[in-house]
Symmetry: C2
């Protein structure tokens, strides 16, 4: 599994072969076929999230008007304090950008878990749009801070990020996002 994650992230889905994963893991390729079926099956297993988003975001619905700030605080907290989670998530994002099959699997993994949490806070029918807006801001923030290390968001303290981005996530969760008529 560790070998598959590294190869998927480094080479992308298409260029990673079952044989190369077997070589890196020093096992017989037949063993990988036995446990994971095909390359799509291996990918699905490699993309299991290193943390349970439902656990990280538990209880947010208790105070919907502070859910935005609390969500940013908890996610930044996990990324700051758990380097192994950060590395796994970054590998997952790199894999997801490599090939349509990987893109679809990453989208499904992140989408279904995040959607179910956010549905409990949102008060109207726009759950899918609101959840994907939250995801776009959080994903963009994590990429800018930890991958591209853009000056500004890369140097900010966690408290600064929570203060700046919390109200934005709150806006996406419960604020007015409709087209003015």
């Amino acid at each position: 599994m560790a070998a598959a994650r590294v190869l998927f992230a480094e080479r992308g889905f298409e260029r990673t072969t079952m044989r190369a994963v077997a070589e890196a893991a020093e096992v017989d390729p037949a063993l990988i076929h036995h446990y994971f079926g095909n390359k799509e099956g291996l990918l699905a297993a490699a993309l299991v999230l290193p943390v349970d988003p439902a656990a990280v975001l538990a209880g947010l619905e208790a105070d919907p008007d502070r859910a935005g700030t609390e969500l940013v605080r908890r996610i930044v907290g996990v990324w700051e304090s758990q380097p192994e989670v950060r590395e796994r998530m970054l590998a997952l994002l790199r894999t997801g950008m490599s090939h349509p099959v990987a893109t679809a699997q990453v989208r499904d993994v992140l989408g279904s878990t995040i959607l179910s949490v956010i549905a409990r806070v949102v008060r109207d029918d726009n759950v899918e749009l609101r959840a994907s807006l939250v995801g776009s801001q959080i994903g963009g923030l994590l990429l800018a801070r930890y991958v591209l290390q853009v000056p500004g968001v890369a140097d900010a303290t966690p408290d600064q990020l929570v203060a700046a981005v919390g109200p934005v996530v709150q806006h996406y969760l419960t604020g007015p996002i409709d087209v003015p008529s």
Copy 2:
């Protein structure tokens, strides 16, 4: 140049060789060395932006309180109407995620141009933090809509995106982003 862009985006910086670019372009490798020096030089040339951000964002400072909405409208407009710009920018993002050398170059290219535009709208000393927050939201939105095609932001009309994300960019440009004391 076209061959280099494709290979950098598909294989990443480290796995792309001058020889492979020469083969794809059907020229002598010595010619590439002559014009671009080394692989870093070739990368810098490949990362030239397909549009001039200063032109796309010209005049935003005339109405700073509407700059957020106008910025989202113009960027989404370019990505919607110019597929070749979209493809080049996506290749650039993929390349930038592949290797620290490419990451640094992508950050410099995007950072310097965006920073100079945004500095004309921001009214305090927090230009770098504000610009990088804007970049994180816009980058995350473009990735979610055009690469991951996340339901919600992928199905929204351009007007919906402008209505939902415009106030957020405005908040980052001119709103209160400080840590409460």
